[in-house]
C-alpha cells in the first residue's frame, strides 16, 4: 500500500459512459479510472449499475456513448475478445467453471500456458504450475482435486487463480467473498492486496462496507447509474456510515435494532431428524413469533437440513410437527400445504423463473388468492405492485423478465414470492445474500413484522450482525449435528464462533 504514489500509471480510463436498457438508464455519464497496482472499490445499491459497468469492461455489453481507454488504446466499445487481449479478466459470481475436472485443469483451461506445441496435455506441468500460482498468492489449495468436491471458498479461489493465469492488467472481482465463511474473508483480502502489489489494477465490488474500506485504496460510489463520489484512502478517512449515506442518498442506520415482540408457545417441532448416517439426529422446537437463527460454517449441513424439513431432501428418519400434529412432508407439495416455506440459497437455480416476468414470479405459489376459475390480472397487478413498493424492488415494469433485474432485486422477488403466499413457518437460507445495506434493513424489518404477527422464522445465516440482531435463539450446526444452542442472553460473537469449532 505504502509506495503506490511511485507508480501512478493509469491503466484504465473510462469517460462519460452511458448504457441504456429499455426503461432504465443503467449507467449515466459515468467516469472511472484505475491505476496500476491499486484496488478500486465500487459500491452502490442493488440496481445501481455495478454489474452493468463491469460487463461493459469485459465486452459482454456495449455502451451507447462514451469511451474506454486501456493501456493507451481508446475504444468506443469492447468485445469479449478485445477485452481479453487488452488484459481485462473478470471473476463473475455465477459459476462458469467445469465441475467434473480438477482445479488445475480448470485454471489452465483455454490458456497458452499449456505448451501449445505438444498435442497431449501434461498434467504434471499443469499441476506444478497451478501449485506455483497458488503459492505465490499465499493460499493452500489441493489443485488436483475435482472442482466440484472443493469447498465453496476454494472454488472461489480457483476462479480467481484462473483469471490470474491469464496474466491480467485489470482484474475485476464481483462480490468475491460471498462464498466465504467470516474467518476466510481475511484470506481473500490478503490475496487481493498481494495481487495489486504485483502491479495489477483490481476493481472490487462488494456490499459489505467494512470489507471494501479494508481492501480498497479508492472507492467510487454509484447511485442510479451516476458516480456520486470517489474517496481516496490516502487523502481522507471515511466510515461505513459516510459511504452508506452517499449510496442511498440519505443517512441510514447501519445497525439494525429489532423491535422486540412477545413470543408465544412452541408450535413447530423437528424431532430426531436424521439425514446423515454418522451424525446424531437433530431435534429442536420453534415458538410462535420466534426468529430462530441457524449458524454454522458453509458445508456444515444447514441447507440440507432445511431442505429435509421441507421434504426436498432424503430423510433417514425423523418427524415434523406443527401445533402438535404430525405433518412430516415427504415432498415440497405437502410442505407448502402445511404452511411451510423454504427460501433457498441458490435462487437462480431453484428459486426463480428467469424467463418469466416479475409478476408471475411473485404470484406463482400464492396464485390461489387471485381468482377461482379465471385469474384476475388486474388484481394480480395491484397486489404485485404493493410488494414491489414494499420491498423496493427496482424494475421498469411488472412485465419485465426477471433475468433483466439486478442480482439483489432478484433476491427481493424470491422473498416477495413467499410473502405473497403467506405461510406459518418461513425457512430462509442466507436471505440477504447480495442485497445492499439499505435493502437488508428493509428485509429485517419485514421479518420482524412477520414474527410480530405470529409467524415463525428459521433463519440460516452466515452473517454475524444479522444472526445477532435478529435471532431470539440460535442453534449452531456442525457436521450435520446441533453442536450448541444459544438462548437470547447468550447470543454474542464469541459464543457463536466457539460453537463453530465444537467448543461448548
Amino acid at each position: 500500500m505504502e509506495n503506490k504514489t511511485l507508480e501512478k500509471e493509469k491503466i484504465l480510463d473510462v469517460k462519460n459512459i452511458s448504457k441504456e436498457f429499455p426503461g432504465v438508464k443503467a449507467l449515466n455519464n459515468f467516469n472511472f479510472d484505475l491505476y496500476k497496482g491499486e484496488v478500486h472499490g465500487l459500491i452502490g445499491e442493488n440496481g445501481a449499475g455495478k454489474s452493468t459497468f463491469i460487463k461493459l469492461l469485459s465486452g459482454a455489453f456495449q455502451p451507447n456513448i462514451g469511451e474506454i481507454t486501456i493501456s493507451g488504446e481508446t475504444h468506443k466499445y469492447l468485445t469479449p475478445h478485445v477485452a481479453r487481449r487488452l488484459g481485462i479478466q473478470t471473476v463473475y459470481q455465477e459459476d462458469i467453471l467445469v465441475p467434473g475436472i480438477s482445479a488445475a485443469e480448470n485454471i489452465f483451461l483455454g490458456t497458452e500456458l499449456i505448451d501449445s506445441k505438444k498435442f497431449f496435455v501434461s498434467y504434471r506441468t499443469m499441476t506444478d504450475q497451478a501449485n506455483t500460482l497458488a503459492e505465490q498468492m499465499g493460499i493452500t489449495l489441493k489443485v488436483d482435486e475435482i472442482y466440484e468436491r472443493l469447498s465453496p471458498s476454494d472454488q472461489q479461489f480457483v476462479k480467481i487463480l484462473k483469471a490470474l493465469a491469464q496474466k491480467p492488467k485489470v482484474l475485476i472481482l464481483d462480490e468475491p467473498t460471498q462464498a466465504f465463511n467470516v474467518k476466510d474473508i481475511g484470506l481473500v483480502i490478503e490475496m487481493v492486496k498481494r495481487i495489486s502489489k504485483e502491479g495489477v489494477g483490481v476493481i472490487y465490488i462488494a456490499h459489505d462496507l467494512e470489507e471494501i474500506i479494508e481492501v480498497a485504496d479508492r472507492i467510487t460510489v454509484l447511485r442510479d447509474g451516476r458516480a456520486i463520489n470517489t474517496h481516496d484512502k490516502k487523502l481522507e478517512k471515511y466510515q461505513p456510515d459516510d459511504l452508506a449515506k452517499e449510496m442511498i442518498g440519505r443517512p441510514v442506520d447501519l445497525f439494525f435494532k429489532k423491535k422486540e415482540s412477545p413470543v408465544g408457545d412452541y408450535i413447530f417441532e423437528v424431532r430426531d431428524l436424521k439425514i446423515k448416517e454418522s451424525a446424531k439426529p437433530i431435534s429442536f422446537r420453534v415458538r410462535e413469533g420466534e426468529i430462530l437463527g441457524v449458524a454454522g460454517l458453509k458445508g456444515a449441513g444447514r441447507s440440507e437440513i432445511a431442505r429435509a424439513i421441507f421434504g426436498a431432501y432424503r430423510k433417514l428418519g425423523g418427524k415434523i410437527f406443527y401445533k402438535g400434529k404430525n405433518i412430516t412432508p415427504s415432498n415440497p407439495i405437502q410442505a407448502v400445504k402445511s404452511g411451510i416455506a423454504l427460501l433457498t440459497e441458490s435462487k437462480k437455480v431453484d428459486g426463480l423463473f428467469m424467463g418469466l416476468p416479475v409478476d408471475h414470479n411473485i404470484t406463482v405459489v400464492g396464485i390461489d388468492s387471485i381468482g377461482k376459475l379465471f385469474l384476475s390480472l388486474g388484481k394480480e397487478r395491484k397486489l404485485c405492485n404493493e410488494y414491489v413498493n414494499k420491498l423496493n424492488i427496482k424494475t421498469p415494469s411488472l412485465n419485465k423478465e426477471i433475468r433483466f433485474l439486478s442480482g439483489g432485486n432478484q433476491q427481493k422477488v424470491v422473498i416477495a414470492k413467499w410473502l405473497f403466499k403467506g405461510v406459518n413457518i418461513l425457512i430462509v437460507d442466507e436471505p440477504t445474500h447480495g442485497i445492499d445495506v439499505n435493502a437488508k434493513t428493509e428485509v429485517y424489518e419485514l421479518f420482524t413484522e412477520l414474527a410480530a404477527s405470529g409467524k415463525s422464522i428459521i433463519m440460516i445465516s452466515s452473517e454475524m450482525p444479522e444472526l445477532i440482531s435478529l435471532s431470539d435463539r440460535i442453534i449452531i450446526i456442525r457436521n450435520y449435528e446441533i453442536s450448541k444452542v444459544l438462548e437470547k442472553n447468550e447470543i454474542n460473537e464469541e459464543n457463536i464462533l466457539s460453537g463453530f469449532m465444537g467448543g461448548n
Partner: protein
C-alpha cells in the same frame, strides 16, 4: 401501468444491425406483416385469392394442423413436446373407421376415440414425468408404436367410411362457415384462456420455465405434466374425428408429417424449446402463415416440391429472427 420510468430514445452509439432489428423481437407483429405481404402479393397475382370462399378454404385446410399446433404449443410451453401426435391422429382415425365399419354406433365410436386419445396422451405423460427422459426420445418411440398399432388394426389397408359421419369435416354452418373452422377457433380460444387466465396455465408456464424451482414452490410437477399430455391426447382425438370426417378415407400413416408441421408452426409463432415462453396467439398466426403461404404458392402455381423448400427455409428464418435478442448479450 406501474412505476416505470419513461422509455427514452436510444442515444447515438455503436448501434449495430442487431440493435436495429430488435423491434422484430415481437414476433407476432412480424408474422402479421409477413401474412399481409403474402396476401397482397397473392391477390395481385391472382384475383381468386382474396375471396371469402378461398379464405374460408384456407382456414378449413389448416383446421386440423391448427388444432394440433395448439397441443404442441401447450406442451412446449410446459417444457415438453410430443412427436407422436401425428401417428396418434392416424391410429385414432383408423380405429374410428374400423368401429363404424364393424357396425358400432357413431356415438359409441366417438366416445371410444376421445377416451383412447386421452389414454394415449396419459401414457406419454406418465412415462415422461416419471422417467425424466427427454420427451423427444419418448414420443419419437411412441410415434412408431402408434403407427404399428394402426397398421395392425387397419390390416395395412386404407379404411373408407364413405358417406357416413360427414358433419365435423364437411358440414357448413349456414351453408358458409365450415364446422371444422369453428372447432379450431374454439380450441384456440380454450387454449389461450387456459394458458393466460387460469392457475393451471400459470403453473404449466412455471414448470416450463424452471421445473426445479416449480417443484420447490410446491407445485405438483408430475401431475401437471401428465395432465397436459392427457389433455393434448384428448384434443388429438377431436382432430382425428375431423380428419376422417373430411377425408372419408384414411391410411395408417395419414398423420406422419403432422407433428413436425405443428412443431414448425409453433416455432414460427414464437414458441421456443426453452419453455414458459411465447404465446398461443403467435402459434395461431404461425399456422395461418403456413396455410396462406401454401395456398398462395398453389394459386400462383409453384410446385409442391418447391413449396417444401420454402417451408423449411421459413422455419430457419423464423427461429433465427426470434433469437436475435440473444445474439448479443
Amino acid at each position: 401501468m406501474s412505476n416505470s420510468k419513461e422509455i427514452k430514445q436510444k442515444v447515438n452509439g455503436p448501434a449495430s444491425i442487431v440493435d436495429k432489428l430488435r423491434f422484430l423481437n415481437n414476433q407476432i407483429v412480424y408474422l402479421v406483416l409477413v401474412i399481409i405481404v403474402i396476401g397482397v402479393a397473392a391477390s395481385v397475382l391472382n384475383q381468386n385469392f382474396l375471396t371469402l370462399r378461398n379464405l374460408l378454404n384456407i382456414m378449413q385446410q389448416i383446421s386440423t394442423l391448427g388444432i394440433l399446433t395448439m397441443c404442441m404449443a401447450l406442451l412446449m410451453i410446459s417444457g415438453g413436446l410430443d412427436i407422436s401426435i401425428g401417428n396418434m391422429t392416424g391410429l385414432l382415425a383408423i380405429i374410428f373407421a374400423r368401429m363404424l365399419l364393424t357396425g358400432k354406433s357413431i356415438f359409441l365410436s366417438v366416445i371410444v376415440v376421445l377416451l383412447l386419445g386421452l389414454v394415449f396422451g396419459f401414457i406419454n405423460g406418465v412415462i415422461i414425468a416419471k422417467s425424466k427422459v427427454t420427451p423427444l426420445i419418448i414420443t419419437l418411440g411412441m410415434n412408431y408404436v402408434f403407427l404399428g398399432i394402426a397398421l395392425i388394426v387397419g390390416g395395412g389397408r386404407p379404411q373408407a367410411i364413405t358417406g357416413q359421419f360427414q358433419f365435423l369435416g364437411q358440414a357448413k354452418i349456414g351453408g358458409i362457415v365450415p364446422v371444422a373452422i369453428i372447432i379450431f377457433l374454439l380450441i384456440f380460444i380454450f387454449s389461450f384462456l387456459l394458458r393466460k387466465y387460469t392457475k393451471y396455465g400459470r403453473r404449466l408456464n412455471a414448470i416450463g420455465g424452471n421445473p426445479l424451482a416449480a417443484y420447490l414452490s410446491g407445485i405438483n410437477v408430475d401431475l401437471h405434466i401428465i395432465s397436459i399430455y392427457a389433455l393434448s391426447g384428448l384434443i388429438v382425438g377431436f382432430t382425428s374425428l375431423i380428419l376422417i370426417s373430411r377425408l372419408g378415407m384414411v391410411q395408417a400413416d395419414v398423420g406422419a408429417n403432422f407433428a413436425l408441421q405443428a412443431l414448425a408452426a409453433a416455432i414460427i409463432g414464437g414458441i421456443t424449446f426453452e419453455g414458459g415462453k411465447g404465446s398461443l396467439v403467435g402459434a395461431f398466426f404461425g399456422v395461418l402463415l403456413l396455410g396462406i403461404l401454401s395456398n398462395a404458392l398453389n394459386i400462383v402455381g409453384v410446385s409442391s416440391f418447391t413449396q417444401t423448400i420454402v417451408l423449411g427455409a421459413i422455419i430457419v428464418v423464423a427461429t433465427v429472427i426470434s433469437n436475435i435478442g440473444k445474439m448479443r448479450r
